[in-house]
Symmetry: C2
Subunit: 276 residues, 2 copies
Amino acid sequence: MKRSERLVDMTKYLLEHPHKLISLTFFAERYDSAKSSISEDLAILKQTLASNQSGILETVAGAAGGVRYIPYVGKDQTEEYVLDLAKRIEDPNRILPGNFVYLSDILNDPEDLRRIGEIVATRYAYDDIDAVMTIETKGIPLAQSAARYLNVPFVVARKRNKVTEGATMSVNYISSSLEIISKMGLPTRALPKGARVLVIDDFMKGGGTLVGMEQLVHEFEGTVAGAFVLCEADIKKDKMMEDYVSLIKITQIDHQKKLISSEIGNFLARTDFDRI
Amino acid sequence: MKRSERLVDMTKYLLEHPHKLISLTFFAERYDSAKSSISEDLAILKQTLASNQSGILETVAGAAGGVRYIPYVGKDQTEEYVLDLAKRIEDPNRILPGNFVYLSDILNDPEDLRRIGEIVATRYAYDDIDAVMTIETKGIPLAQSAARYLNVPFVVARKRNKVTEGATMSVNYISSSLEIISKMGLPTRALPKGARVLVIDDFMKGGGTLVGMEQLVHEFEGTVAGAFVLCEADIKKDKMMEDYVSLIKITQIDHQKKLISSEIGNFLARTDFDRI
């Protein structure tokens, strides 16, 4: 197979298998080519991704070595996307009674989900995430997209036990937006013991839901390796959780006056792009 | 920029924007290259994808023309994947009381979701789908993945109205697995009027949920352009819906005897791969 054809197929293969170590032997056999040629191909790929700040190709030396594609969105591109997103969120039509914000158009758009998923996967690329956790329903698309680019499974905590899930571990949590104590549960077989979990939700007010998911992770003897929310509402000043990362911060929302203001969240400040 | 570098970036760009028409001018400007060179690049890309049966690069001639990447999984690869999936589903540990089947490991795995999403997007590639619809909760990952490869938004019908969704259109439906009349609703702003909708669910027994979604589509003056389920259970013979496509058919399930059998669904029989 020619280099040009190999490059097309290799790019596709690597993009489809993020964070997975692929041996040079695999590619050499796939294309019936010498390992030295494959190495040269990969050097071109690495250089192209790096110069566009659109991905990292990591080389692992040695007998058990190979290459790994790490999805990556650079700081400037992240900032540009988030600023645009913040502007789109500042649409008064999004304000619902009770000062809730309609975000389903963003949460159900494949392009937004790709961008957000890649941005989250960049932030946690080297945090040894084993699984992403969210709570039904609106967090699911974000969790799925982040999980895709981290190439790990995601798990969905349910607010009600389901007959189609089997034995379930449940915890109580304070849903601050509703000011009531609720229950969330996860099938015992969904998450292996001791996993490092990235917790994700779409919207955070007081942080009670994140705390609930953290408790659930602990019940599975796991560790919260990160907590990400798409939007935080800077309305209640006393957050139940300190250590979270937000892409967007909603600074003002008033249903009656039809006012909504949003800005970039703490994501950029809390992400060390040089480390990645 | 060199051809090899262009090919890497172009492959990545096209894969990230399935079903979207990209003009040659866009690529010519992106790489500061002549359109004739871009045309040659695209010919290589097209040929490579075609020879692996791993995608279609469609060329649209004329002033408003360009190229479009269509995700595609060939018949043999689809069959191989589905047979393997059917085998994995035949695990007695999946059987839950009430003869429900645990599928969350598959529905939450990025690799399975990619494969299933691409297979669904292949089937409906030329059906002018405007949106994918599902019902919470387990259908969401499938809908999201199919929507990604079709590059259209997806919408999620809810079983309970939510304060964070605004005005909602609701219909009643017969949930045959529970034999009760239930309600599902969709925010009025979620789906434009007159859309062609692909309806997706994870599991089908009598088909009542699909019928409910069909009704909901009609309330939005839309058309059901297809109905896809991951698994159908061949237990109730009288289906409420005839025109659906299933990837897997569960032919036997017995919680007490710990027996579960599954086979390939009607997907292959109902898909004309030559047309695609």
